[in-house]
Symmetry: C2
Subunit: 170 residues, 2 copies
DNA sequence: GCAACGTTTCACAAATTTGTGAACGTGCAA
DNA sequence: TTGCACGTTCACAAATTTGTGAAACGTTGC
């Protein structure tokens, strides 16, 4: 059971998962790369490994990893003594990191909504809607850390379940 | 104060706000239309009004409103006796509705992640990451109603503050 | 029936995005 | 210095998305 997965099947799945990620806003190639590092087993990848693993040109990787690193979804590291950079997913709390990033990416809208209130005045229907928009985003931004704390706790329980039950300080 | 807003300024703002919305995944024209109905003061719009208001062709409106209605961001109604459809934003709790929709739109990823666990097995690094992905999305999906309840309560307080303090049934 | 009106569909042009091959730069090794 | 492996940048071709004008459609009112 859980025998070796056919490379072809894995890549097909990577492709589908990547398309799912594009729905949440990631451009196509970054989505592919990210899906790949999530799904495949290695801890780190050089750009060349990503290219050959995904069967795309190194050129396509270059732009994609920059996007992902900038977005904070991928770490860029260099092994001591090595002469190439390696990329890795933040293995602990992948989605906490992503969610935090996404929270930041909504700040522009919050800001824009504030401008809208100023432009339209707080008493016009449009102005009220902008006010509501601004408040909603602000609410969510404030709320996010709390939600993520809960997630962390839940996550810990979930993945500690396999460990001994009474490791009090673990 | 809060004098009449120049049409030009309003449209410019609509355009900027729409671009902000595209960052969250809305295609361009739907984003424009949605920004417009949020920002402008009317309660309802015919397709023709949207077209002339936004200075785009009626053809462009047609597709955009279908997207928005389907996504649940815009209501399509017909005034009794009228012979044209009108579109309106759900004026009460705009962002609650949107957030609910967005929550639904993440179900495919959750599903995909589950497939990933099945494909890769729960003990490989990739499989574990898929498991974590699946759990995260499930967690968020379960959490969302609670968050939105809090938002509703907060929202109510916020917008009731302007009313008389003791209008019990108002 | 048929003219008037508003909306949708269709085919196409323009603009944007996507991914490639090829050239270039960098650092190590012989 | 030369050779080599890797990564990035650049220019271009292919594919996709976007928005339009024109025609088709359906509904109302005469």
């Amino acid at each position: 059971m859980t025998g070796k997965v056919e490379r072809q099947d894995l890549l097909r799945f990577v492709e589908r998962f990547a398309m799912g990620l594009t729905e949440v806003g990631l451009p196509r190639m970054p989505a592919r790369v990210f899906a790949y590092v999530l799904v495949d087993d290695a801890e780190r990848y050089t750009a060349a490994e990503l290219a050959s693993g995904l069967r795309v040109s190194p050129a396509a990787i270059s732009g994609a990893v920059r996007t992902l690193v900038q977005a904070g979804l991928l770490g860029k590291e260099r092994e001591p003594g090595a002469r190439v950079d390696t990329y890795r997913v933040y293995d602990h709390d992948i989605w906490g990191v992503i969610t935090t990033q996404r929270g930041k990416s909504s700040e522009p809208i919050e800001q824009l909504a504030a401008e809208g209130v100023a432009l339209l005045g707080p008493d016009s229907p449009g102005g009220r809607r902008m006010r509501e928009t601004q408040e909603f985003y602000a609410f969510f931004r404030r709320k996010l850390p709390e939600i993520l704390d809960e997630w962390h706790e839940y996550r810990r329980k979930l993945f500690d379940a396999h460990a001994d039950a009474d490791t009090g300080s673990g």
